[in-house]
């Protein structure tokens, strides 16, 4: 468990160090009968160059929608980004035309998805699907693109890359397909790699390989990673900083070491407790009681209140704001409000 860069560097590091800045992002889904699902509600965070940020939370917390909002691939309708700003190296992405956005996708931002079995087009060869990005963004000729595709396949660990480019997705295993996905995502040397649960659908042994490969690729291409996961084990292994999402909002943000040692939000505590630990003899695995509130009908107060062990009267009345309690450690919880926000120790 290491988090080298983050703790060394002060949070007020110069702005040009920032790769991605998301500010006040709101993404709604209009599901008919006037119902509005606030899938992402006022989410702000940033990612520095070379940094790996994990976005964690259970299913339906809005983490995937946040990542799809960044590359503007929200299924629309019914989804719509209604507010906020997403800047990549200072360039606003939300006001780009669709054509300009196509030049960002796959080029500046690469993406890996959860389902390797269905994420590749079944009727085109692996080579074709890797070369497609290279021809589009690097303006390579077909033969040059295929040559480059072979190189990429070798980098992601295919010994017989020359044969694999002629093969079809159904001829590869899940782990191999995810390697292909990584090759596609990294093909144009993106500044940011978004990985949406990249190991969830894989065997445990393959999971570690894929994670290592991602980190390797990140270092090789000097990219940043936004890793979406619900697996705290994965977070501990690769992340520098962690964002915890609940009910479409960020409830805690901290450097990875801090999050594990000085957990603040009751939801994060519960999330960490639900990881099996070999040293603790438990009859049953801890789970978080209850379910998340429906996203089209959030309560007035704190969205976690109904499941929280420390719930107070105030929690039912008023949704807390995200406050920086210690340097780089923010939390959205009334429990910490008496600490008066910034740096009061």
């Amino acid at each position: 468990m290491q988090s080298p860069q983050v703790n060394k560097e002060p949070s007020t590091k110069a702005l040009e160090d920032q790769l991605l800045e998301v500010n006040g992002l709101k993404t709604n889904f209009y599901i008919g009968k006037g119902k509005v699902v606030q899938a992402v509600d006022d989410v702000s965070f940033s990612i520095r160059k070379g940094e790996t940020v994990a976005l964690v939370g259970e299913s339906g917390s809005g983490k995937s929608i946040t990542s799809l909002s960044i590359i503007r691939l929200i299924p629309s309708p019914p989804g719509k980004i209604v507010e906020g700003s997403i800047r990549l190296e200072g360039k606003e992405l939300l006001t780009l035309s669709e054509d300009e956005m196509c030049k960002v996708r796959g080029n500046d931002i690469g993406m890996i998805f959860q389902e390797p079995m269905t994420s590749l087009d079944p009727v085109f060869t692996i080579g074709n699907q890797i070369a497609e990005s290279l021809m589009k963004h690097k303006k390579l000729k077909k033969s040059a693109a295929y040559k480059e595709a072979i190189e990429l396949l070798k980098i992601v660990g295919f010994a017989r890359a020359e044969e694999v480019i002629k093969e079809y997705p159904h001829q590869l295993s899940g782990g191999m397909r995810q390697r292909v996905m990584i090759a596609i995502a990294m093909s144009c040397n993106p500044k940011l790699l978004i990985a949406d649960e990249p190991t969830t659908a894989l065997d445990v042994t393959v999971q570690a390989q894929i994670l290592n490969l991602m980190v390797e690729m990140k270092d090789k291409f000097q990219s940043s990673i936004l890793l979406i996961t619900h697996d705290m084990g994965v977070v501990a292994e690769v992340a520098d900083r962690v964002l915890v999402m609940y009910g479409g909002q960020i409830v805690e943000e901290a450097p990875v070491r801090d999050l594990f040692i000085d957990t603040m939000h009751p939801y994060t505590t519960a999330l960490l407790k639900s990881i099996p630990n070999i040293d603790v003899d438990l009859k049953r695995l801890d789970s978080i009681l209850g379910t998340a509130p429906p996203a089209h009908d959030f309560p007035r107060g704190c969205r976690f209140a109904a499941r929280c062990k420390h719930v107070m009267e105030k929690c039912l009345e008023e949704n807390p704001t995200l406050v920086e309690i210690k340097p780089n450690h923010k939390v959205r919880c009334h429990l910490y409000e008496h600490q008066g926000g910034l740096y009061s120790e």
Binding site: I71, G106, M111, F113, S119, D121, P122, V123, H137
Partner: protein
């Protein structure tokens, strides 16, 4: 390759079964062809002579193998009504029906696929709803009536169209087009009205799939997403539907050839049935089933070209 060989074997087995069923059906049909040929005044000696001459006194399995042997060498027997070889009669009429079938299929493909894409892109918008209601209309219109409407409104007003009869391609290409376009439209319009919905649904279904999101995440423009990836994947279900259409179109020609007085296989079939010309009916039925079976074979081969999962399994 193994796939294609399997399909060829299947084609042969299907054709053998078709020939057996056709043969059996004509055995159990009421009416003695010999008596029909000779008329009510024939005496027993005449009947016996002709039965012997036509080989109908042989055991059934011998008759069947004789007939199949004839099929394989292109000899479909002798027509009773026309006193000509059946194969000659069929081949004479073939160009009309084949031209009509191909023209109809071309119209269906050229209109239904682009229309399906157009409507899929406008899912739930006004044009989608309007075109979808047209489907109901298309299904409800009987083809003989549609044919008459087309004759009335297009055929009578534009000299390009001929409303009756056939001009061979070798005589005049424009003439042939003019003679075939209205009948082709008559068969094609109801098909288009129904089938473009299938195209729309196939495309919308593909658009839901994960790989589309991957392609978009690569920065591929929506045009390429649609025409390279989605359309190519949709062609697999669409092809199935167009394989089925072919059988319906072949059946459609039978009626439409009557309406437009086209001297095709369909007209020949109706004539032969009304004259109890069994060898001719049998020959035409075999021909039609062969066309349908063969087109299904082609569809299977096309599948393997379109879908590597079939080709390589």
């Amino acid at each position: 390759m193994a796939y294609i060989i399997r399909r060829i074997i299947l084609l042969i087995v299907t054709m053998a079964l078709v020939s057996l069923i056709t043969f059996a059906v004509f055995q159990v049909m009421p009416g003695d062809p010999i008596r029909i040929m000779l008329g009510p005044d024939a005496d027993e000696v005449q009947i016996e002579t002709l039965t012997k001459k036509l080989g109908l006194d042989q055991p059934l399995h011998i008759q069947y193998f004789d007939w199949v042997g004839g099929l394989l060498t292109g000899d479909l027997g002798q027509s009773i009504r026309f006193s000509k070889p059946v194969s000659e009669l069929v081949i004479d009429r073939l160009p009309v029906t084949i031209s009509l079938t191909i023209m109809t299929l071309t119209l269906v493909v050229l209109v239904a696929i682009p229309l399906g894409i157009f409507v899929a892109k406008r899912k739930n918008k006004l044009s989608d709803v309007v075109f979808s209601s047209v489907t109901q209309l298309g299904m409800a219109i009987p083809s003989f009536w549609l044919g008459m409407l087309l004759i009335l409104y297009l055929g009578m007003n534009f000299s390009f169209f001929s409303v009756s009869g056939y001009v061979p391609w070798s005589t005049s290409i424009v003439g042939a087009l003019g003679a075939l376009l209205l009948p082709a439209m008559t068969i094609a319009i109801p098909q288009i009205a129904v089938k473009f919905r299938y195209v729309r649904n196939a495309i919308l279904e593909q658009l839901q799939l994960d790989y589309v999101r991957t392609v978009r995440s690569k920065g591929i423009t929506e045009k390429f997403v649609m025409y390279k990836h989605v359309l190519r994947n949709s062609m697999i279900p669409i092809l199935t539907i167009f394989g089925l259409i072919t059988a319906e179109v072949v059946a459609g020609t039978i009626i439409v050839e009557q309406v437009f007085a086209l001297p095709g296989i369909g007209q020949l079939l109706i004539t032969s049935i009304s004259y109890r010309d069994f060898p001719l009916v049998q020959g035409i039925v075999i021909y039609i089933t062969f066309v349908v079976v063969f087109i299904n074979f082609l569809v299977d081969i096309l599948y393997s070209i379109l879908d590597p999962r079939i080709r390589l399994s």
